[in-house]
Symmetry: C2
Subunit: 166 residues, 2 copies
DNA sequence: TATTGTTATACTCTATAACTATA
DNA sequence: TATAGTTATAGAGTATAACAATA
């Protein structure tokens, strides 16, 4: 206890650095957001897919699978679920009868608006303790780190990973 | 494209908020850190366990399982692996022959020092683009958010969740 | 022969619930 | 009867690879 070297080590364990904090708060943010999406009956990957389809309608499943870095076989079940709920639609394209182009339905667009509303509420909830300028500063610092770490804007690295089931 | 309402929505999709950024950078930080731990042949949960054992030696597996919020049956395999590698030791306690108290071995202590060294390197790597005062500011802001969100200091919410296998 | 989408299979990881031995 | 640790089992989720239709 009175060993100064051990005390320094204990201190290093006690005070979290930026790397730990961003991971801790990020995991928390992620969990809260997934809970909001679950209330809309959506999985995080389903949301990402909806947004990708909205951003560029008519892409093939293969193209989406490539963009999202997930195997094509996983895309099938993903699209199945969203199509069953009437949020996206598989449509044939002229010229190649193998391809199934993905489109958002009107209901899919409505749900996507709810997603954006819920995401905005999530942002407000997470930043409740910061005033607007502090929040802007946090965004600026994290954007710098993200850019310097080579992270693409708006692309979450966890999307391609396995999802915690809760 | 020229619809101002649609343009506003597109803008909202394009610029990430703090919640997304912290989750994105946090996930990236987490992945880099796990890669460093993997080089020491350690899983993130093994590291957490090592640190808990180091912080309070002689606890029972049940007590640890309780503290780490994982089922006792999972603790068994976790301890098995660490004991096989000679990092922790199960010891009987006097008075109750059911209990197996966990202790760090000298090798376990050496590995834990490597863990702390690797974590410090990870911190430096992640914050490479920030000067010291910016890093301190980021830490302060994230600490505020963490405290206001009710996150316990030094406790990562993802520990109890399933781990991405990579 | 190559490619799109699909289905089948086998594998990994997990929690739940028996089970053993002590208390 | 209850508890600490262990083992067995069954389920969820996944990637890999086989498959059918089309190019």
């Amino acid at each position: 206890m009175s060993d100064p070297k051990a005390a320094r080590e204990a201190e290093r364990l006690r005070v979290p650095g930026a790397a730990f904090l961003v991971s801790q708060v990020g995991s928390h943010s992620s969990r809260l957001w997934r809970e909001r999406m679950a209330r809309l009956d959506l999985d995080s990957r389903e949301v990402v897919l909806l947004r990708h389809v909205a951003a560029a309608e008519g892409q093939s499943q293969q193209a989406l699978a490539e963009a999202l870095q997930i195997p094509a076989s996983r895309m099938v079940a993903l699209v199945d679920g969203l199509e069953r709920r009437g949020l996206v639609q598989r449509r044939p394209i002229r010229g190649d009868r193998r391809v199934r182009a993905l489109h958002l339905t009107p209901e899919g667009r409505r749900v996507l608006r709810k997603v954006m509303k819920a995401s905005a509420e999530h942002e407000a909830e997470l930043c409740a303790g910061l005033d607007p300028s502090e929040r802007e500063h946090l965004i600026a610092l994290l954007s710098r780190v993200a850019a310097e770490q080579g992270l693409a804007t708006g692309v979450h690295p966890g999307v391609a990973e396995k999802q915690p089931s809760r």
